[in-house]
Amino acid sequence: MVTHFQRGRKARLSDLTLGTDLYVGVQIAGPGLVFDISCFGLDQAEQLSDDRYFIFYNQPKSPEESLQLLGAQAGDTESFRVTLDSVPASIDRLAFTASIDGDGTMAQVGPGYLRIVAGGDEVARYAFDGSEFTTERAVMLGDFYRKDGWRFAAVGQGFDGGLAALLRHFGGEVAEEEPPAPAAAPGFAPPGGGPPAAPGFAPPPGAAAPPQAAPAPAPIPQPAPPPAPTPQPAPSFTPPPAAPAPPAPGGGYAPPPGAPVPPGGGGGFPVQPGQGFGAPPMAPAPGPPQPGAFPPPGQGGYPPPGQPGFPPGQGGFPPPGQGGGYGAGPTAPMPAMGAPAGAGAAGGVMGALDKYRGSDERRRWALQNPQLVRADLGIDGQPVMARQGSMVLYQGDIDFGFKGGGLMRRATTWATGEGLPSMMRCTGDGQVYLAEEASRLHPVELQGDAICVASQHVLAFDESLEYEVRRIDGHGLPGGSLFALQFSGHGTLVVTTQGEPLVLPVTPMTFADANAVIAWSAAAQVLVANQVRVRRQAFPGHSGEATQLQFRGAPGSFAIVQPYEI
């Protein structure tokens, strides 16, 4: 189940997943932009007190390997593995950031996301795009932080400077400020898609940062013998001298003896985005594509999404958004046409059903779709009155009871007979989903004003609203009279309509069919207008009389009519 985060939202990680071995993927791209995506392990004062916990392209893992940079895979521009259990206690916060290398601003960024994947299932996603930013050149995307256990916060805060400014913000030092590398050699670094960092070979114990192919901007096609990691601000803890600087790809980069040449990465050429070596279809090589990059095999069982080692049939399905890449495998038994090239196909059940997920916002009344409304009783605490039988689903501890009411109201109910639907009173703490025969729902918020609603069109309302029954008598009305409920006060009322309603401003000559009228402002006066036609009716059973409701009222009054006559 993917929980979608908005900027600023926080949640306890244990509410999202019970796993602590997490995969964090970041997708960020913009035309012509190249990004450095890093993770800062901060102490309680939100300072980078230990340089070894700045995880970036030159330092792909923390000493005890609780934080690892995995490179681009499965549609993510950059990905990390975070083993929360083994993060040292001195690290209080893990901040994931993206900064632009070269020219450009965050406003140019296209839609991207930060997502958390646990055990092959995406559990959380924070989506963002450039419209949230202006001239920033870096952004803090999301934080894991400790507060009674780990929590996750979608931060989405921009930063004017680039990576260097971020580093200073966190108290790190920037040792040398090399002129930024000429923004990505054209033709080489495909915009937006950082080529995967070459899988780090497991360094012998004691050896410091492993040699790394430089990320996106680096590949300047010249066999640069000397070090100098071209990407700009080289922080103080530059790779230890022992580690030869990222050899520029293209040249004959011979990996140190004994180091396994990772599949696909050996050539050192930036791989086109989308066919990053982590992408499953391209890497049929058995085993995880990063041999040795993972800590002892005992810790296995960490399936980043879409890796070949990911066992199908676990009930885990690839996170949506992976495109057709994954689909080919599992759907293979179906002949040609069956291969799901369709958009939703890759996501399996959740991919197809994701668009039917209701809104997550915490409001007392939230429309889940045009036909279903969710009332959150936990907000505001006051009971909701709902038409009996309109509950389709509820979560939490909710009691449903008949509306008792006082004697007076009961007497009214009796007097009005069947004109009123029976209501139930929902109390407790939780969420109730209400709907009525797939009719359209319209939450109307009253702020001290009043509205009359034909009684059969009331689905639910806050108990704080006052209501009284109004009866409009007139010869020719269906059932002899029309019952309306006049609501007033402060609160929300949900009205049902069949089809898209029409809101008519009340003029001196406004008429509506009594069968189609839904609601009108209480200030309007309702008259029953009968027209007797002399002409003989075309079909039998017709009384020859047409009955309409006429509305009259002060300017600003309105009447609502539905395209459906009961």
Partner: protein
């Protein structure tokens, strides 16, 4: 006739997947011989190509045997090559690809599914005699496509985050198979949900997964209702 009036409703050129939506209330299935389909009887609205229908196949009847009395088998087997258009009285149609997953669908909400999928009639323990309509559902699993219908736009609700999710059985469409489900009756004299029966039934789901509900308590089987008339 001015063809432009209807041009917008022509099917898209070539199917890209086994099942697709044509509009929100119609499913289009790309049929191939050897890849049969079970569809709700009477749900075919049009087809192109050479497709044959066999209703009440023997195998099906056995699968349904002993379930409920007096109900006909609501599925037909479609074989052949071509394009098959299915709909169910204007209900919303959702085409779901299963990838080695399983799904439980309320039998009235099944429109079609690939014949090679594994499926079986499931019964919910303890609530077999469900308010009038004998709740039974199809458990479908494997890799392939399922089309489900919903009266109104459905909503997917996650379970597990907040304990139990209680659903009006009339509004239930489908749920992920991993969920634990039990009938819940509230005997409190004051609670009168449902259709005024005096007893309130809900299905309580717990565990990790999701539930799909429709915004309508209309669970009438259009097909059977028509036959009875």
């Amino acid at each position: 006739m001015d063809q432009r009036m209807t041009a917008g409703f022509a099917p898209t050129a070539a199917p890209t997947a086994r099942m697709e939506n044509h509009g929100s209330t119609m499913a289009r299935v790309a049929m191939q011989s050897g890849n049969d389909l079970f569809a709700r009887s009477g749900s075919m609205v049009a087809y192109e190509g050479y497709i044959q229908y066999e209703s009440n196949p023997t195998a099906l009847r056995q699968a349904f045997a002993g379930r409920l009395t007096g109900e006909s088998v609501p599925l037909m087997k479609c074989t052949g090559d071509g394009l098959l258009y299915l709909a169910d009285y204007g209900a919303e149609v959702v085409c779901v690809p299963l990838q080695n997953e399983s799904l439980s669908v309320n039998a009235t909400n099944v429109l079609a599914f690939d014949a090679h999928l594994e499926w079986g009639v499931q019964r919910v323990k303890g609530i077999a005699k469900f308010a009038g309509q004998g709740l039974f559902n199809l458990g479908i699993s494997g890799t392939g496509w399922v089309a489900i219908t919903s009266r109104g736009i459905p909503v997917v609700v996650d379970c597990g985050r907040s304990g139990e999710v209680c659903v009006d059985p009339d509004a239930l469409v489908a749920w992920s198979s991993g969920l634990e489900m039990k009938g819940k009756r509230s005997f409190k004299a004051s609670s009168l949900i449902g259709r005024g029966s005096g007893e309130a039934f809900q299905l309580a789901f717990s565990g990790q997964g999701f539930v799909v509900v429709q915004p309508s308590e209309d669970s009438t089987d259009r097909l059977n209702a028509q036959q009875q008339n």
